[in-house]
Symmetry: C2
Subunit: 415 residues, 2 copies
């Protein structure tokens, strides 16, 4: 049994995490949120109180912290008495926050891989470059660290585990498909920080096939997917965290990730990339000013948080898993559909932040109850998916299954 | 008879002007070139000598000058003894250079309208905002000032005058069509300074129809043109200098300007414009740096001068003029075709700079011989076009005519 949560970060996903922690503070205990700018944490807490989100009376405090400073994070963990840390800060702070958890014994939960700001797309498997180097230390010290517990990575890893355990003797392939069929009404915008968003698409696309790493490039490999609710959507093979752990845990399966993009997004992205405007390397203007083009693109694009009020439509994210059962081919599609407008009405965020922010709170609740308090480092597919789905069903992200694969019989996962 | 030429500017067009002046220095006398950076002038002169372009032994000297400083320009005119100034500096220096000519009595020739850096697209007619305010003063002092003597504006104004004088009793419409059917082999590039190039397309498109100014916007009005040599090309109504003087001189004619753009150019332009990346207003990055997006776009695009060596293909620029003769409808297309590769081999520049840089040298030669030494301010259509065409035929830009309009009988203008 662990209690008291410290949230690191105060962006769009942290906002969702804060609301969901508040809605479940009977299980989670005292709540704290910290980022470099305390005012952003104050604003998140104010929005929680505005929605009367606290389930039972309790603490929710804001703090300032430099998450790149392990000693400062450790001191804050001790000061707040947090036994669970949910890290939804920038992709650059994972390792310093994890170190602080190892030092203090607090459980660590994050939603995305660690990144070095100076490097775009390192060698696979990505987790081996940073997080997995601390695996033995976590086991030795009995520290629970749950990696990649957002939606993708996170829930989709649990989808894969569930499909394999329930429906197969042997798995042959896992294709994760992420479609945002929503509309924000702007000419162009990214759903996350544009800098992070574009970094995801400018590197090599790694995937696992025939028991080895293979490479392609963004938008080179596209396919139409006929999905529940959102209909037929085109998605392209993209690099994504969960491929790197699923390939390690299911080395005999092909593992690929597909992200949906409309022609308009691809066109704008392609123009910007080909002109050099997505570069993180500085250029010099005729007047001699040194400027990083990507930071200027970020400055002219809408703030992702500003999209929420007008965002409409749905997301569909799921795993098409193929294998064999009793010598026969089987396939199953495990998925969730979320709604942008409903997310905004509930927690003041758009659907993309919602799907990313709800699952780590479910993971924290399972750590609190002991069901996922593994006392070592785990990726999500290494944990029992059923209690995770049970909580997600209740707190806003229900899991459904198409038995027989796309076009198959639609049911709740536990029906 | 005027002699000795001072060229203001050292960019791509100035390079062409320098070569053409050198090739005709028997008529033009001593040559001088000045810009803010003397080294750029030295480089232009070095390229002239490399091609052995000087027709007869003579002077060609480089100078540093701030063309925004009238007194400095006047002092340089006096020091060099220049009686003709060809201004091919930035669009922002016309008025200071013109004032220096008025002060010293030197003849003034330019190739584009004056612009205020802080204003994009002022009220029509553009010439009335700046240049024409000095018309009475030029007449009073007997100073020759020839405005807009490049290709467009410039040669196309003479095309209109010629078509009307030779073929019509009455003119009904003048449609100027500018097609660059060349290829520079880059993903995207502008043929002039991107800052000036994009400024031309982000403002209101003014045209003259039914004896009044009308407005449209860029790419809103497009039409396919079946042209000699380059074939069928799509061109869009654009704002351009020559519309503003031709409408004053031929108020009963409709006057429109059409510029050719491929779908790729329009797509890139539209993406950049809609994202706000063509703005001349500063934005602030997340790190607090103030940056003008347009200057960053300029920094990532190829330097227009760098395009010349690999530029292939042709330009076609002409006037479709319609009117009546002896009570019957008549039409004629007066045009020139230029070749990028030939321009590069002759003067080291691409075809767009070539077509802009050759005509002001022809105008300077006519001022030198007295034929165009008007002792007042003139737009090109107010001068006799025939001696202009005669020189242009000889120095690289021959004039041709389709009698009967597009698809009509093709002949040299004087055949």
């Amino acid at each position: 049994m662990k209690r008291n949560v410290l949230i690191i970060g105060a962006g769009g996903v942290a906002q969702v995490v804060a609301h969901k922690c508040a809605q479940n503070n009977d299980v989670l205990g005292a709540l704290h949120i910290a980022s470099r700018t305390k005012a952003k944490c104050d604003a998140v807490i104010a929005s929680v109180h505005e929605k009367n989100a606290m389930k039972v009376p309790g603490t929710f405090e804001a703090h300032a912290v430099d998450a790149m400073d392990t000693a400062a994070v450790a001191a804050l963990i001790r000061k707040t008495g947090a036994q669970i840390v949910i890290n939804v800060g920038s992709a650059f702070v994972n390792m310093t926050v994890l170190d602080a958890c190892i030092e203090t014994g607090a459980a660590y939960i994050d939603t995305a891989i660690h990144e070095d700001p100076a490097k775009i797309c390192e060698a696979p498997p990505w987790y081996a470059n940073y997080e997995w180097k601390k695996r033995d230390l976590c086991a030795e010290k009995g520290v629970t660290a749950i990696l990649g517990a957002g939606f993708d990575p996170g829930v989709v890893n649990a989808f894969a585990r569930f499909a394999i355990d329930e429906y197969m003797d042997e798995v042959k392939s896992i294709d994760i498909v992420d479609i945002n069929a929503g509309s924000h009404g702007k000419y162009f915008a990214t759903n996350f920080d544009p800098e992070i968003n574009f970094r995801e698409f400018t590197g090599t696309v790694y995937y696992w096939e025939d028991q080895q790493w293979k490479e392609t490039s963004m938008f080179a490999s596209g396919r139409d997917w006929d999905l529940p609710v959102v209909g037929t959507c085109r998605a392209y093979q993209s690099g994504h965290d969960e491929v790197h752990s699923l390939a390690a845990n299911y080395p005999n399966a092909d593992v690929r990730f597909w992200m949906g993009f409309g022609e308009h997004y691809i066109n704008v992205f392609t123009v910007l990339k080909n002109l050099g405007l997505l570069s993180e390397q500085p250029v010099k203007t005729a007047e001699g000013q040194e400027v990083v083009p990507l930071k200027v693109v970020k400055a002219v694009l809408p703030d992702p948080a500003s999209l929420a009020p007008d965002y409409t439509g749905k997301t569909c994210i799921g795993d098409l898993v193929k294998g064999t059962k009793d010598g026969k081919d089987v396939e199953v599609f495990v998925y969730n559909v979320a709604d942008h407008k409903e997310a905004y009405l509930e927690v003041g965020s758009q659907g993309i932040s919602y799907t990313a922010g709800v699952p780590p709170v479910a993971a924290a609740m399972l750590v609190a109850t002991g069901e996922w308090d593994a006392k070592t480092m785990k990726n999500v597919e290494e944990l029992d998916p059923k209690p995770f789905f049970t909580i997600l069903d209740r707190i806003g992200l229900p899991t459904r299954v198409l038995e027989g694969g796309l076009g198959g019989k639609d049911k709740a996962w536990n029906a």
